[in-house]
């Protein structure tokens, strides 16, 4: 209670009371609005948790079914099969890289010829299709001669236009074909019947010469080829076994799921019957009686035929191991082509791991028990360190966050690798080196970059940058860069570039602030000691501002990790851990991200399903990561401010 003894108005007086109460109400109203921010934050956390927490128990039940019905058993063997396939494809890539390394010239010539054929084909396609449509035997009325004439005149006109390079993007460039060859090809196409789509003779010639060259360069590699083939066929026994057993266990699982649904339905009906009116009850009771039509699945009996095949699994496994040892002995020591050699080395490096994995498979299969329960700890660790995110399949939905996390991380690293030098460099330049006129232009312009909506940047990536990068990467003079030419138009690098551009304004503005806040006395003292301008900047001012710059970088990182639209549109959306055997070229592979997966899948999942909850768990993870980053940045900033005073 406030002390009212000095108040000229008596405490019980209505004037005083009214005044205090309205003021109090107004204050409470404003205070309530301020509390709204807390309410929203708490609601965010609460609802993320509410939807997310249910994920782990439900996912655990699913995993339990996965184990009981024997899907897990088959998956043990299947994992070997996948690894084997990947190893085989590694060898194949090495083989073809080696073969093709000798035929680069022929391949380019064929590519260019095909480009010309495609260009002319596309240019004349409308008239060609129209001709096909009217001459189609099933069409109800035969075409009139005038129409035919009109259409073929059109065809010839478009062809002439195309040959002079006036249509579309113009005649494709052909640096590896001579003028006469190009002319020959064009003449052959021009002479072709409008209705035919056969390749011109010259293109076939090129094809033949490429095939011959390939054969020639493959000749010394025959032993290698045979070894690869033998290796690939060594898994056929296991392949058959796996596909047969998976049919059995899939049927078990489907029966179990169906039974589960019926039991749940019965439970719902029972609940309803308890509260229903008497006249409805009899109807409900009839429904309850008819609800469960299937027997509960006897998992042990269902698994028996699969488990009985363990000896066969053993044999198949032994065959595969033998195949691996055999191929390791027969492989050439090294290959002359650099790329082929890298694939070969990758194969060799992976061999021991593969051998070990194959070796312990038998033990795993024999030690597998359907009745061991799946622990909640295992479910959580499986989610965090799982290497697969598989959804919507008929086998089993697996939620493992690692590929998404690695995608987000790689893209952020690329973005920061671009944004830090440019952002901090621009901040140092603008604050310390540029004249006032430049400052007045540079600062608002870079800040204005922040206003570009992310979806527009994503559109730029998809419509302009991706294609541009891919075209640049096919230039012969740039083929020394690892990863060039780029296979996928949309990849982590493209996304990283755009996100870097987004992070530059954040990093620039905050770093510039930090540098600006360094007391003038620092620079003056440095100058007075005879330091040059550069020494002052890099030995005094930047170190003094370093924690502010670090905070700027962290806030930039927070912005990059939380960004959705750019990565959704540009990163390529392939859910897979990138293949790091490509070295630096790995950055040109597509990836999926934490933010992207939520945006892409939330719209399609049924409300309340395990998949829906998994997406909320991803949201929680994202929330925690970004919060931690921002919190660290704020602490850095605070320390920086304290050191100022």
């Amino acid at each position: 209670m406030p002390d009212t003894s000095h108040n000229p108005v008596p405490s019980g007086h209505p004037f005083c009371r009214r005044g205090r109460s309205t003021e109090g109400l107004i204050k409470a109203f404003f205070g309530g609005n301020a509390a709204l921010t807390i309410v929203i934050l708490v609601l965010i956390i609460l609802f993320l948790l509410r939807e997310g927490v249910g994920f782990f128990p439900e996912y655990r039940t699913e995993l339990q079914n996965f184990r009981k019905s024997g899907l897990e058993f088959v998956d043990i063997a299947r994992k070997d099969l996948t690894a084997h396939e990947q190893m085989g494809s590694l060898l194949n890539r090495a083989y073809f890289a080696q073969v093709n390394s000798n035929c680069r010239e022929e391949m380019q010539r064929l590519e260019e010829a095909t480009a010309i054929v495609n260009y002319l084909g596309e240019a004349t396609a409308p008239a060609h299709d129209a001709l096909v449509q009217v001459t189609d035997a099933e069409s109800n009325s035969p075409p009139t001669p005038e129409l035919l004439q009109k259409l073929s005149a059109q065809y010839r006109k478009r062809l002439a236009d195309a040959l002079s390079g006036r249509l579309g993007k113009g005649f494709p460039p052909t640096p590896h074909l001579s003028r006469t060859e190009q002319q020959l090809l064009c003449d052959q196409i021009a002479a072709r019947d409008p209705l035919s789509t056969d390749d011109p003779a010259f293109a076939n010639e090129l094809q033949a010469s490429l095939a011959a060259k390939r054969e020639l360069s493959a000749a010394p590699l025959i032993a290698f080829r045979d070894a690869i083939d033998a290796f690939q066929s060594s898994s056929s026994a296991l392949d058959v076994l796996v596909s047969e057993t998976s049919d059995t266990v899939k049927a078990t699982k489907e029966a179990a799921v169906l039974h589960g649904i019926q039991v749940r339905k019965r439970q719902t009906l029972l609940d309803a019957a308890r509260t229903a009116k008497p006249d409805l009850r009899s109807q409900l009771e009839a429904d309850i009686a008819a609800a469960v039509t299937t027997e509960p699945v006897d998992f042990t009996a269902a698994m028996a035929p699969v488990l009985a095949r363990i000896p066969q699994f053993k044999e198949a496994n032994a065959a595969m191991s033998a195949g691996l040892t055999e191929v390791s002995e027969k492989l050439p020591l090294s290959l002359s082509d650099e790329k082929a050699d890298r694939y070969l080395k990758a194969f060799r490096a992976a061999t021991p791991a593969m051998a070990a994995e194959t070796a312990d498979t038998v033990g795993l299969l024999e030690g597998w028990r359907a009745d061991v329960p799946v622990g909640i700890g295992m479910t959580i660790s499986g989610f965090i360190s799982g290497r697969d995110w598989i959804t919507g399949g008929e086998w089993q939905d697996i939620y493992g966050i690692l590929p998404l996390f690695i995608g987000s991380l790689m893209i952020s690293i690329i973005a920061l690798a671009i944004a830090i030098p440019f952002g901090v460099g621009a901040a140092i330049y603008t604050n310390q080196l540029a004249g006032p006129r430049q400052q007045r232009f540079v600062k608002p312009t870079i800040e204005f970059l922040q206003a570009i909506p992310s979806v527009v940047l994503g559109f730029v990536g998809i419509a302009v940058l991706g294609t541009l990068l891919q075209e640049v990467s096919t230039l012969d003079s740039l083929s020394w860069i690892p990863g060039f030419p780029i296979q996928q138009r949309l990849n982590m690098f493209t996304a990283g570039c755009l996100l870097g551009l987004m992070a530059i304004p954040t990093i620039f503005t905050l770093s510039e602030d930090a540098i600006n806040n360094v007391p003038a006395a620092f620079a003056e003292a440095s100058d007075a000691l005879g330091a040059s301008k550069l020494q002052t900047i890099f030995r005094v001012i930047v170190p003094a501002a370093i924690s502010g710059i670090l905070a700027a970088v962290l806030l930039g990182l927070g912005r990059v990790i939380g960004e959705t639209m750019v990565v959704l549109l540009v990163a390529g959306n392939r859910i897979q851990i990138p293949d790091f055997t490509d070295g630096i070229g790995t950055v040109f592979q597509p990836a999926h991200t934490l933010t992207g997966i939520i945006a892409q899948e939330l719209g399609e999942v049924p409300f309340g399903s395990v998949h829906y909850r998994a997406l909320f768990v991803v949201g929680i993870l994202l929330f925690v990561i970004v919060l931690a980053i921002n919190w660290t940045a704020q602490r850095l900033l605070r320390r920086f401010r304290i050191s100022q005073h």
Binding site: F29, A34, I44, P126, G425, G562
Partner: protein, 373 residues
């Protein structure tokens, strides 16, 4: 003599070169960033402006701005002339010329007609969200700057503001979906099964079953997102009003609320409005929060068409420009026929954002020039 230092210090010349190199290098990086930004803008304007402007009066392609989105049909007639018609005109053409006269038909979803629906949707979403955020945000800022004393509550509020500002937009999308779309309270006679809590009120029920994907849910989500920005900016404008104004008012016997209303708010208002225009640009530009809460790719009616009551506008889904661009970019492959819709939409969108941002800059400068204490 311009620089006596050069005569005194030895080795100045070499250091001068080093400084020149570093300066050129850093300057080159700075201008490279600006050049890239200008190139992006240039490309968007180069491809988008021809869609937006036209040669004769009124110089703006009104069809593109006022027509609804339709499917685009591209086909040849027997003469080999290529036609591009939106669905409605295409059906007319077909009925007057006959089905046999159409060759090589291709269709492109969402690429015909104009973008009236997305523009209207974005404007509604933005205005509604900024109105909500302004009301709550300014009130919160008044509390923070005028009433609050340092204490635990204020510490919590500041922490919440700081954290809220950092939450990724997609998490706001998840939040809006879980709260406004699936759990917000509505009045209904028949509560849905998945309702969190249904309270009978006698004549009807108050059921926590959400507003569904709707204009109001999207606007509320966006409002939560821009709330921290508005609070921070409003508080700054309020703090910029000199303390003397308040003291003079209080000394004349005014209550605190009278002081705020008559001597603080009027002087802080221009600053608050300026910052709100900037947050308008942010709200208009975000896609992730409205993806699941409000936006829809295709809708035949404008928001106010075919609804019974004014409330129906709020509970219907809307098209939105950023979502439209996302759909066009992701689902429709780029070709010469889709570029009109794609680059045109991007151009209009950038123009909107640019106008908002430019308006806020101009406003800020005018306010600064006017308010000198």
């Amino acid at each position: 003599m311009k620089n006596p230092e050069q005569l005194i210090r030895r080795g100045v010349h070499r250091k001068g070169i080093a400084e020149g190199i570093v300066k050129t290098f850093l300057g080159g990086m700075t201008w490279a960033v600006i050049a890239v930004a200008l190139m992006i803008f240039g490309r968007m304007i180069w491809d988008g402006a021809p869609v937006f402007f036209k040669k004769e009066a009124p110089f703006v392609n009104m069809d593109f701005l006022t027509k609804k989105t339709e499917t685009l049909h591209v086909f040849d007639d027997a003469e080999g002339i290529r036609h591009q018609l939106p669905a409605s005109e295409f059906h007319q053409w077909k009925s007057s010329h006959g089905t046999d006269a159409v060759f090589n038909e291709q269709t492109f979803s969402y690429c015909g007609g104009g973008i009236a629906g997305p523009i209207v949707g974005t404007v509604l979403l933005t205005l509604l969200s900024v109105m909500m955020a302004l009301f709550f945000g300014v009130s919160a800022a008044i509390y923070l700057s005028e009433y609050a004393k340092q204490g635990r509550f204020i510490g919590w509020v500041r922490l919440a503001i700081l954290n809220l500002a950092g939450v990724p937009s997609i998490v706001f999308g998840l939040f809006g979906f879980a709260v406004f779309v699936l759990a917000a309270p509505i009045l209904t006679d028949t509560p849905a099964d998945r309702s969190l809590l249904a309270i009978p009120l006698g004549f009807t029920h108050l059921s926590f079953e959400g507003w569904g994907s709707s204009l109001i849910a999207g606007a509320a989500t966006l409002a939560c997102m821009i709330l921290p920005v508005i609070i921070t900016a409003s508080e700054e404008s309020l703090k910029a009003v000199p303390q003397g104004f308040r003291e003079a008012s209080l000394a004349l016997g005014a209550t605190r609320w009278q002081t705020i209303r008559k001597s603080v708010l009027p002087f802080a208002m221009p600053g608050i409005l300026t910052s709100s225009v900037l947050s308008l640009a942010r709200a208009a530009g975000e896609t992730a929060p409205i993806m699941f809460t409000a936006a829809v790719a295709a809708k035949d009616d404008l928001p106010w068409e075919g609804v019974g009551s004014p409330l129906g506008v709020l509970t219907g889904q809307v098209q939105a420009l950023p979502y439209h661009i996302y759909t066009l970019a992701l689902k429709i492959p780029t070709s010469e026929y889709t570029e009109r819709a794609q680059f045109g939409s991007v151009f209009v969108f950038l123009l909107m954002i640019f106008l908002f941002s430019a308006a806020s800059v101009v406003l800020r400068n005018r306010v600064r020039a006017k308010m000198k204490w």
